[in-house]
């Protein structure tokens, strides 16, 4: 590339990487906030995060940076990836320009307060404790809809934060289409008598932790380029492709709680570790979208992590970790239990079918909240009604109801739908992987995950944010998202159990 273009691009890269430094620093402070922060440190941490977020925003929205991007957009001699990086950063720049520093600061402070109050509300199992902070956050989120702008529905402004290509219209349609086949499949499979009692035996914390660390390593997560810790709600964050932090939680009376959320987070973690490290701070070094991120976690959690091939190898290992709890259980019983279809209260523990109704409930509520049709105070009642309507179960209390997820406390309205989209992408990718690599299931049976890792690295990880979710899906599978892969996958999977 020409000298001038090269020098412009280097200035652009340097700037973006400095912004990334500040953002990742904020991510370290947030990770610490959810893992190790002593309770009285809350207040100072909130202002430190606010200052970092405000600083990152300020750097990103400087007019001088806009000018640099202007020059770069007409620069010749940039290669395709560089051009695409500049194009994506320009979009980000225009979005940053819509915010004021004061708004960014206020949002950050409000999110921190809301998170602490969620922790407290969960401890005391009382939504009312969370309500004032959540309500303040919701008011701010509504202002954000107007700042960002939207078509058709104010919730669209937020949906696009997590998956640019989706909308209320698409999601209404999607959930509408999924409802009937899911209901049919659920009624078909949930009638089966399956014993799951042994999953509720006593699994000691220390031993579960050892199992979790074993699992993480076996799944290929690089512990020299990441860690696993304990937090209130499992999550993945990263401070570079070589420093990826996953967290989990342990319930001694529920084996499933930790294991599949651990596999889920490893799926996220592998994606982050697989992103091109040399593209640090650039769009080409970032994940494609949250839907694609969730496709990675759900593919590992479900397509692999609940599948018979994986456990043909790992069930014996598992038994050696928990001989007392699992000596009288065979592989078939185990697979039946971990795939039991049974509408239940907690999303992260849901079977793959009723899972989408958990998401649907949150989607409906978020749309109403942001659209102004639901008062914050009415969330628990609305939640409980919808759980009865779609999952047919009564919610006994707030902790098992609308306080179960951390997302709203983070202000992440619009995030949940990506779990459903991700599950659908996962099934579509899983089909393609088997088509491209016909021997892959056999390898998994032998405890060999090499081909899975390679295929995901080539198909997904290496591209960063260069392609939209739709384009990426088309590149990989030849077509955009198609729900029949998911329903086919379900029908195919459940015939085994």
């Amino acid at each position: 590339m020409g000298n001038n273009s090269a020098s412009l691009y280097n200035r652009y890269k340097d700037k973006l990487q400095r912004i990334a430094d500040i953002k990742y620093a904020a991510a370290v402070l947030q990770w610490d906030q959810e893992t190790y922060l002593p309770s009285k440190g809350n207040e100072a941490r909130a202002r430190q995060l606010a200052t970092l977020n405000e600083t990152a925003h300020q750097l990103f929205s400087e007019d001088e940076f806009g000018k640099l991007l202007d020059e770069l957009s007409v620069a010749d001699n940039l290669d395709t990836k560089q051009k695409r990086n500049v194009e994506l950063t320009f979009e980000d720049y225009h979005k940053q320009k819509k915010y004021t520093g004061a708004f960014v600061r206020k949002m950050s402070e409000t999110v921190s307060r809301s998170f602490y109050s969620w922790i407290d509300a969960r401890k005391q199992n009382d939504f009312k404790i969370f309500e004032p902070a959540l309500d303040e956050l919701i008011q701010l989120k509504k202002q954000e809809s107007d700042l960002l702008g939207y078509e058709d529905h104010s919730y669209n402004a937020h949906l696009k934060e997590y998956e640019k290509s989706t909308s209320v219209k698409q999601l209404d349609q999607l959930f509408e289409n999924l409802q009937a086949p899911l209901k049919k499949l659920i009624s078909e499979f949930s009638s089966k008598e399956t014993n799951t009692d042994f999953l509720k035996r006593f699994y000691p914390k220390d031993q579960q932790w050892k199992w979790a660390m074993y699992l993480v390593k076996e799944l290929g997560f690089d512990l020299e380029a990441g860690r696993q810790d304990i937090s209130e709600h499992p999550f993945t964050t990263n401070f570079s492709a070589r420093d990826v932090r996953i967290t989990t939680r342990i319930d001694e009376h529920d084996f499933a709680n930790m294991t599949w959320s651990c596999i889920h987070e490893v799926g996220h973690g592998l994606y982050e570790q697989g992103l091109p490290d040399e593209e640090y701070g650039l769009p080409s070094g970032e994940y494609a979208s949250l839907s694609i991120h969730e496709s990675q976690s759900r593919l590992w959690e479900n397509c692999i992590g609940r599948g018979p091939h994986f456990w043909q190898f790992y069930f014996l290992k598992l038994q050696s970790f928990f001989p007392d709890q699992l000596h009288d259980v065979n592989l078939e019983q185990f697979l039946g239990a971990i795939n039991k279809v049974q509408p239940s209260l907690i999303r992260t523990e849901a079977d793959q079918l009723s899972y989408h109704f958990h998401v649907y409930v949150r989607y409906i509520i978020e749309k109403e909240i942001i659209g102004g049709n639901l008062k914050t105070t009415d969330i628990p009642a609305r939640w409980n009604d919808l759980y009865e309507q779609f999952l047919g179960i009564k919610v006994p209390d707030d902790k098992k109801g609308c306080l179960q997820d951390v997302h709203w406390s983070h202000g992440s309205f619009g995030y949940f739908p990506t779990y459903s989209l991700g599950s659908l992408y996962a099934a579509q990718f899983w089909f393609q992987l088997q088509k491209d690599e016909p021997g892959v299931k056999e390898e998994i049976v032998n405890g060999n995950l090499y081909t899975v890792h390679q295929w995901l690295a080539n198909s997904v990880y290496q591209h960063g944010r260069i392609y939209t979710s739709g384009d990426l899906c088309k590149r990989i599978t030849g077509e955009t998202l198609n729900t029949h892969f998911f329903t086919d996958y379900i029908a195919d999977t459940y015939k085994h159990f």
Copy 2:
């Protein structure tokens, strides 16, 4: 205060607190770097820290901030503390102005590289691994002497970073004065036959950790406003007065290693937790100097933590943690062993007398390094010679020699002398505490540390950085630092053992 002064002061406060946010964020990243960071995360972490340090420097050295300080220095209606805050910040501002952003960034990056290389060199017990990175850092430190300016000796520029009121002249004199009495006391006490074998029995890691956590709580460290973790070299850092992190390390074959370094760090931690939280980011919310900081850690570690009164209460507790290791040891034997005078290799484990020779060796070497009279490559030989000269012992390898301390890898040249100064201040404060509170030893015998805490809070903690070390010492004890308190304290203490 007048409206205008009030508004100016608020702007000043807001600015300083934002700078503090960035600095504390860097401290979080550093804490993480020394406790939990996966090894491959090093590189990105180094650049993140560099960007935060550069950002903090940039904010602090903005001309606009200088103008604000100008206006404030002539503002009427500020109270004494506010005036002093402005005065101290003005000094800090002028110092910041001496640096360029590029120099701050380079220093930060070089320190990170040097720290990683120290970790590696220690693991492999080979100074040569550390040498290139250390040498680069030393060259930068020499440039810094010139940037900062100095009188008499270039090392003075660095000494003043940790204790404004000290100098090569004062320290030469001080160590000169201490040498003869220390040597006399050492030869007197080290001839005693004292059994210390039981301190080298096997003390399992888990049990030591439980003991450490017990100790931390008992000493009054607030675990809702702080944490303890494990690191390569023990240290204390804080992200506000309500979030103070101490670390320790455990040697299963050396009971003393963890225990007194833990008490030492708690001493630091109590000081940080005791600083006025409402003065966050202002000089009045910061510690007075590193000498005063070390007076707090050394007072707890030695005057209290090696004293008979403390262990009259806690020895039984200790035995209940380690019955197998200590069932055949009585209090008198224990006190003798933990106060055994015996020149040894490791500073953090040294007795209170030979301790000063450890510091003296480092002081001599630092003076020579910064003054340009000692090549980096010659540090191990010089170290080993000086240990033979002053402590009369042969250094077997680099890990037990010049690689033992983290400080140089952080570029903290000028820090070590504050350990000696701190020990001297500690003795002087300890005498005054007993004079002001004649019943305090009796309280300690009963496991009651309330009066100690209150006295330190009133005498030291509450004042932040408002007084210089000398003025603070004079306020508390009626005179400035006087070494006779230390030699008296030693003579008084060791007559018991």
